[in-house]
């Protein structure tokens, strides 16, 4: 069902008031380059605004916003992926402490390390990592991604392992 432009604007402003910071973090998680990140932010917000004309209550507003944002971000990543080589959680999980000292020093700042880690992931794993970092529970992650709870449980286990080891490792490097 189509709605009026004012109602669409109101829905958008409500959504941004509640989820604006999360959308910004999502854009940072998907794009490291400042200019491209601005483009991505615009793409996400435009997709969200347009989508809210069709918001049909089939899911919660939060799920809707995250779905639209992740879908816009996935398109962005697939469009610009020639510049990047992504890895999966399994590869990160299996990797030993192979960071060279120079890189570890550069990435000493914990948040920078977190950015690097998230931005290196393949889109499917990145979706899960970002939703986990936003503190969504497994059921909510399932609603946004459409994955089964079993698949999410396995991935969250890996995410926790990667974060624990990477942060432990980064702190050790920095000592």
């Amino acid at each position: 069902m189509r709605i009026g432009a004012d109602e669409q604007d109101r829905r958008y402003l409500d959504a941004v008031a509640e989820f604006g910071p999360a959308l910004e973090r999502l854009a940072r998680g998907y794009e490291a380059d400042t200019d491209l990140r601005w483009d991505l932010k615009q793409e996400i917000h435009t997709a969200l605004w347009k989508s809210l004309a069709k918001f049909d209550g089939r899911c919660s507003l939060r799920t809707w916003v995250y779905r639209v944002a992740h879908n816009a971000a996935a398109s962005h990543v697939l469009k610009h992926r020639a510049k990047h080589a992504f890895v999966g959680l399994e590869e990160l999980d299996a990797a030993s402490s192979d960071d060279d000292p120079e890189r570890a020093a550069l990435e000493h700042d914990a948040r920078q390390r977190l950015f690097k880690l998230v931005q290196a992931l393949k889109p499917a794993d990145r979706q899960l990592m970002l939703l986990y970092l936003e503190d969504l529970d497994a059921a909510s992650i399932g609603e946004v991604t459409g994955l089964s709870s079993a698949a999410i449980a396995v991935k969250i286990h890996r995410i926790k392992a990667v974060l624990a080891r990477r942060f432990q490792q980064g702190a050790d490097d920095g000592r």
């Binding site: 910071p21 615009q42 996935a74 914990a110």
Partner: protein, 188 residues
Amino acid sequence: MAADPRGHDPKTLWQDQEPETDPVTLEHIHDLARKLDRKTRFTPVVLGLGLVLIGVVCGYAGITAREPLLRVTAILAAAGALGSYAMIYRMAFPSRDPAEPASTYLRRRLLRKLSYQQGGWTLVLLPVLPAILLGAYHALSKTAGHPWVKSAPLLILGAALVVVSVINRIKASHTGSELHEVDELMKR
């Protein structure tokens, strides 16, 4: 919860980021949406104009051609261009659900990308292929000149298609493995 030994909790670190100073305003969104709508409307017009141009050229070639073979080629080219237009239009404007679950959306995008990289894009050439082949046959059999010179345009076109196909096949292996991972994840 995975915590950094120096007291950094990854979730807290992530959620406590400083906001950027350049927020996207509603006016800006309206402007972008208008531009997007214009582009959406403009693209079929450009495609349509291209189609009309092809129709005019083919029509003129058909009317002025002395040989029946060339007339048939012109008719096939015009009809083929119409078929290609319909296929390009469908590819350019797929129907989509903006709030599709993220994994389903990602899978669909990867599938589309893989199909393109595996040569799906060449399908848009299929409707004009009879005209190309008939034109090539006419050029080779009915006109004067060295066979290599006469077949040069077709050979160049073939070579370009092979190069593009090889590059896309290499890219397809990466996309394929990623799609496989998403499939596995969705099967669990």
